[in-house]
């Protein structure tokens, strides 16, 4: 690279995001920032308070104290800003610096046009999210990165670590237990499968320790599955390899999603995934890493098909491994940096 090209790099990046809290976007940002830094960039994080009551002036303040940088990157999810995006972008606008917003979901027609108008580029993770934005020439689709697992653990080793039976088949549901994740669908599906199929539920609460939904799911699992339901609780990072390693197949019976960090984590652990026919999952079917179901009644058959066909399961796991390699945080970070650099160059 010539020295003149190097001068057009977005060397100093301001990242506005939650940080080091129990929050998917915080985890995402931490890994992405490492990816930027790996390529020699400096990432100045403005830590956005996650679980608090924020007034518009807070967002002005947050941005006003950020140092001078080459590009502002805003990690966006509606719940983080509570409709106060205007305050944030007003203050960023005063800095006369390129702005890239990464939208983790789209489709709020009160908010999206404003973000598009005030950002130089908007990153979304899939075509579905892009399609939910008003027509524009700023949207760039860059996939959600796949995290690097601590290690890939074999089934028997993982089950021994977690003290799970070696002679059963295990369907794993992973992620915060909220109604949108379809834990109830998973329970009903596994209940219709043979007794040697168990449902492992891994994940904790997101905001409240014992929500009505958690009570509902635990009641349903108790009635329909009895001891075939395995409650693994919140999974700390060091237990991820064992949790995924122990599963034969991962189920994501989501009722709503725009993209899923939990899905990427499953792929990171080279696992076969069955998911609801939501656009973000359906888009990935062509990579051979996921099978989608339309109707709940089809689900037991699809799961059983994978559990009974080792060749098919191994084919999906191999596809997952390839997809993970091609979409690692390091590789996705490069695509982000190319985008940032293009803005700096054109500015």
């Amino acid at each position: 690279m010539s020295s003149s090209a190097k001068a057009a790099e977005a060397q100093r990046i301001s990242l506005i995001t939650p940080w080091r809290v129990r929050c998917g976007i915080a985890t995402f940002s931490e890994q992405l920032a490492q990816g930027y830094a790996h390529h020699g960039r400096e990432v100045y994080v403005s830590v956005l308070s996650r679980f608090s009551e924020k007034q518009p002036i807070y967002y002005n303040w947050l941005v006003s104290r950020a140092p001078d940088v080459d590009v502002f990157v805003v990690q966006h999810e509606y719940g983080l800003y509570l409709g106060n995006e205007g305050s944030l972008y007003d203050t960023i606008g005063d800095r006369k610096t390129p702005v890239v917003t990464e939208m983790h979901s789209t489709g709020n027609y009160n908010v999206d046009p404003g973000i598009l108008a005030r950002s130089d580029r908007v990153i979304v993770h899939n075509d579905y999210c892009a399609g939910r934005l008003p027509r524009n020439d700023k949207t760039v689709v860059i996939p959600h990165p796949v995290p690097m697992p601590k290690r890939i653990m074999g089934r028997d080793e993982a089950r021994r670590e977690l003290k799970l039976p070696l002679d059963k088949k295990i369907v794993l549901v992973f992620g915060f237990i909220t109604p949108a994740k379809g834990h109830d669908v998973a329970v009903r599906a596994v209940a219709k499968m043979p007794d040697d199929v168990l449902l492992a539920i891994a994940g904790g609460w997101h905001t409240d320790e014992n929500t009505p939904f958690i009570s509902e799911v635990s009641g349903l699992a108790g009635r329909l599955l009895g001891k075939r339901a395995l409650w693994l609780g919140y999974v700390p990072n060091d237990k991820m390899p064992a949790t995924f390693g122990a599963a034969d197949v991962i189920l994501m019976a989501y009722k709503q999603a725009t993209e899923s960090g939990a899905f990427m984590t499953a792929i990171a652990h080279h696992k076969a995934v069955v998911a609801s026919r939501l656009p973000n999952f359906a888009e990935k079917e062509r990579h051979g890493i996921v099978k989608v179901f339309q109707e709940e009644e089809d689900l037991p058959g699809i799961l059983q098909g994978i559990l009974d066909d080792d060749e098919e399961r191994l084919r999906m796991e191999g596809a997952a491994a390839r997809f993970a390699g091609e979409n690692s945080y390091a590789r996705i970070a490069v695509r982000h940096l190319e985008l940032f650099d293009s803005l700096v160059s054109s500015g």
């Binding site: 830094a37 100045y44 830590v47 308070s49 608090s52 009551e53 104290r65």
Partner: protein
Amino acid sequence: MLLADAPWANTGYGKMAANLVRFSRVCGLDHIWGWTCIGGLSGGKIEWGDIQLYPRGQDMWSQDVVMNYYMEHNADVLISMKDVWLFGSLPSMPLDWAPLVPIDHSPISTHITAKLQTAFAPIAISKFGQIELAQHKIHSTYIPHAVDTNLYRPIDEVPKPDLKSRLDLPPGSWVVGLVSMNRSRKCIARQLRGFARFLENNPDAQKDAVMFMWTSVLPEGDSAAVDLRPIIRELGLNNRVYYPGQAMYEKGLPEVKMPHLYNTFDVLTNVSSEGAGLPILEAGSCGIPQLVLRYAAGPEYWTSGAIVNCADIEYWSTPGVPFGLLDIDDYAEKLAKIYNGDPEKYRRRALRAIKPFNWESVVRRFWEPFLGDLESRVRPLVKKDGISAWRSNLVK
């Protein structure tokens, strides 16, 4: 930014906060620049040395103003020095909150754990508190209370009888001293009962043992306080228990005079139901033995003297926490042990054990790494070689 009573307020928290600022400067730390006052300042901002003091708000704990001050001051972290259960709206504000959390009971009240769910960096002032918090999956950093050992020291240049005379105590008396607010949780009445039992069991001590209480014997209009006068009368201690006149107590002693007060004592009684307390350290630093309760963090702060057993627990504060109640017989026995013990031995032990609680040592060992770590957590700068902290023109 600190959230605490004003530096000149006559409270333990005010004193702690003022000393933290003072000694962090002595140790070359430049983290604390702003202070939102809970009490002791209203009407306008003023400067206290190089610290910007912000006045209290309408809310009793300044929660109505602290967020604005935090932003105006461009603060990164708010260190509060007040019981956390008192705060209502603070835990849901978008600021990085590092509450100093005294845990003086077990198990911890949900009034406290609920407030800490969103806390950024809780500070446990005892190992006991840190373990209790950990049992509720609340990670905290251990930073003990501290004492200015240069100020609080044995005053050998004034003979003890002279110090006693200054408080109108019989010059040859053996003084059991108490330094405390008058609140039911401080168990002053029960300590008086223990003192009476000691006299009853040890007739030889009746010749010289007296008690001096630096407290208000009147209830001060606070429902949590106790009128101590009828109890003193009832126990037949009229001629043995001394206390300052109300005006003198309200006026308070300047801190430079507090070591003189402690040096008047032969033993400090701090057998409060909460266990630990700042007077335990201050007395220890003056070489005075202490009587403390074997409850919560009491034994951690004790440096010399004796530890009194708990007879029972009682629930009597707003957050409904279990407090320890001293065993009156054991109190009398332990007091007798100190009465008959070697004062020089107690003094040597106290002065040796107090060293880790010296302010400079606590700032260097605990506050400096804590504040340094916070900086990279609130303003992370991620680079190829690791995570450090960024600073802008707006951040001092």
